[in-house]
């Protein structure tokens, strides 16, 4: 339901781009922006954004800020080991996506959580 990508526009006009090429999009980002390689058909376009797209989480470090894929059962995550929203068929419990909820908890289908 959420917008696919936030804080980004196409090609070289992006606000977060530091260096850019018409063919590959952003080659490097301004400080504090996340660099993400977005696949469009066969091409990969460099995109600079303030938050990583769904299915990825951001890691900040002094040298660069990168987007890394969440686990396969997770739709959005805080970190590799901590999910914030599970994929269909999985239910969130303390940052983990499980097919079944622990004893004493039930599935909330709308939120995909164990409650």
């Amino acid at each position: 339901q959420h917008k696919q990508i936030s804080g980004v526009s196409s090609g070289c006009q992006q606000g977060g781009c530091l260096t850019c090429s018409d063919y590959n999009g952003c080659l490097s980002c301004k400080p504090r922006f996340f660099m993400h390689l977005e696949r469009i058909g066969m091409k990969q376009i460099g995109v600079c954004m303030t938050s990583c797209p769904p299915g990825f989480y951001g890691t900040r470090s002094p040298e660069r800020n990168t987007c890394t894929k969440c686990r396969s059962d997770c739709e959005s995550c805080f970190h590799k080991t901590f999910c914030t929203h599970c994929r269909a068929g999985f239910y969130l419990q303390q940052g983990k996506c499980q097919e079944n909820c622990p004893e004493g908890m039930v599935r909330n289908e709308a939120q995909r959580e164990c409650v």
């Binding site: 959420h2 917008k3 804080g7 196409s10 970190h79 303390q94």
Partner: protein
């Protein structure tokens, strides 16, 4: 590139783009150069993206009608301050993104009233402190980003208001110390990132209250001592304190953390490690210690039964415990190079062992029992030892062995039984080893290093059946050279264009290619002839 579909829905503020979601509407106003929040937003808005504009302030009551708004993105603007009144009315807000602004402070007396907020992003701003009351109105918060700001201390009082917090990052700030009871109310916290600060010291009870913590990241700080405060973290699974300044790991260091699966602590000047430091960690699968020169004895790994990778290099080990494999039945990789080990125990209980690195030690002998029954063993590195003798049956049961490195030892013979699967064999530097091993011993060999060049002649790499006097420079075995020799073997009758069965023909080429593709060094040449000149 952002895909904005569909004609502007009614009640969609220009120049934004809207998307209907049943009766609700999702509004995308990102990257439009806006200087303020659009005023005519529909009360049915559930998602509003204002990121990457030029908004420097939010007018009071800008969102007061948006009771159904679930996600609000204002990242990438020029906001310096957002008062409590600015976010009035957002009773259903779950996600608030304020990262990449210029926020210098947060409201204290009249904080944001967002009772259902779950995720709050404040990363990449200019916050030097978090007032005590800043989070009083967001009690349901689960995920908090405060990384990449200018905090110099843990916002202890502010965090007291967040009993439901599960994940928090305070990384990339200027925090220097963690006081006692810094996170005492965060009983639901699972992940805590503190990497890339300047943390030099921690009080012994600073992690009290973190009953659910599973991941603690202290990498890239300035810790001088081992963080004994972790002792209270009984649920801890992943711990990182690499790139610090810790010199010793004490006895029973992880006695309070039986759930630990990974510990990253490389890039520390660790000299001493308590013998019992890594005991009773039944879920630990990797342990790497490099350069801890004060380690004289092999660590006691009682109860750390799941270890698969053990690296203990550049220490002062001179012996290995006889019951090493009883303690570590699942060991796959054992790397003990650059120690002073003289005698080896039998590794035969380490039945899962795949790689052994024992280079640069003082090993003298290899017994028949040393590597017995290690049917999964693929690589042994025994180079740079003082091995004089290897039992005839030492390698007999090593059916998976493909790499054996005996470089720079004192061998005068090498038992070949069990070495039929080798692809890499290194014997350079064994100056008393004169035998020219027949290729028949090593049908799969690809790279072999011998003490002397003449030992490579059996591999046809020096056209050895020519008398030495006719030795000349055409000794290269390029494909072209191979082709000429193959055609000579299979004369084609030019007039009948007869071609032998192509597949069989190629098979033979491959076969002959295999014969000459073994890379044997040192390569014989004019000054290293094929004849065995003793001592040459």
């Amino acid at each position: 590139a952002q895909d904005r579909q569909g004609p502007a829905a009614p009640l969609c503020p220009s120049p934004c783009q809207c998307e209907e979601d049943g009766i609700f509407v999702m509004v995308d106003c990102s990257e439009l150069g806006l200087a303020s929040v659009p005023t005519n937003l529909s009360p049915l808005t559930t998602y509003l993206d204002l990121s990457m504009n030029n908004i420097s302030e939010i007018q009071p009551r800008a969102f007061h009608r948006l009771h159904l708004l679930s996600e609000l993105r204002i990242s990438g603007n020029q906001l310096r301050y957002i008062s409590g009144h600015a976010l009035q009315g957002l009773h259903n807000l779950k996600v608030l993104m304020l990262q990449n602004n210029q926020l210098e402070r947060l409201p204290d007396d009249a904080p944001w009233d967002l009772p259902n907020l779950l995720s709050l992003r404040l990363d990449a701003n200019l916050l030097s402190e978090v007032p005590a009351g800043a989070f009083r109105g967001v009690r349901s918060l689960r995920h908090l980003w405060l990384d990449d700001n200018s905090l110099t201390e843990i916002p202890v009082t502010a965090l007291d208001s967040l009993p439901s917090l599960q994940a928090m990052t305070l990384a990339l700030n200027q925090i220097t110390h963690i006081p006692d009871y810094a996170f005492t109310n965060l009983s639901a916290l699972v992940v805590l990132h503190l990497h890339n600060n300047q943390i030099r010291s921690m009080d012994a009870r600073c992690f009290e209250g973190l009953h659910s913590l599973e991941t603690l990241d202290l990498n890239y700080n300035d810790l001088q001592e081992f963080p004994v405060a972790i002792r209270t973290l009984s649920k801890l699974q992943e711990l990182g304190f690499h790139n610090n300044n810790i010199k010793a790991i004490p006895e029973r260091a992880f006695v309070g953390n039986p759930q630990l699966q990974t510990i990253h602590f490389y890039e520390n000047p660790i000299q001493f490690v308590g013998k019992s430091a890594f005991q009773f960690l039944p879920k630990l699968h990797t342990l790497s210690l490099n350069g801890a020169t004060q380690i004289q004895e092999f660590p006691d790994l009682k109860g750390t039964t799941s270890l698969e990778i053990l690296t203990l290099t550049r220490a002062g080990l001179s012996a290995l415990p006889l019951d090493l494999c009883e303690q570590l039945p699942r060991l796959r990789v054992l790397e003990l190079s650059y120690n002073q080990i003289e005698d080896l125990p039998s590794f035969h209980h380490c039945s899962a062992l795949q790689e052994i690195g024992l280079q640069h030690n003082q090993i003298r002998r290899i017994e028949s029992s040393t590597f017995q029954q290690l049917t999964s063993l693929r690589a042994i590195d025994l180079s740079w030892n003082v091995i004089e003798w290897i039992h005839l049956d030492a390698f007999v049961s090593l059916h998976s062995l493909i790499k054996l490195d005996l470089t720079e030892n004192r061998l005068s013979s090498v038992p070949v039984a069990g070495l039929g699967g080798l692809t890499h064999l290194k014997l350079r530097g064994n100056t008393e080893l004169y035998e020219a091993f027949s290729p028949d011993y090593f049908p799969r060999m690809r790279v072999i290093e011998m003490p002397y060049a003449y030992q490579c002649c059996v591999y046809g790499s020096c056209d050895s059946y020519k008398p030495a006097s006719q030795w000349d420079t055409e000794q290269s075995n390029t494909d072209e050279d191979l082709h000429k020799r193959t055609v000579a073997m299979y004369p084609m009758h030019a007039d009948t264009h007869y071609d032998p069965d192509l597949e069989e023909f190629q098979m033979e080429i491959e076969e002959s290619k295999l014969q000459t593709s073994v890379q044997c060094t040192p390569t014989p040449g004019p000054f290293r002839p094929c004849d065995s000149l003793l001592g040459s």
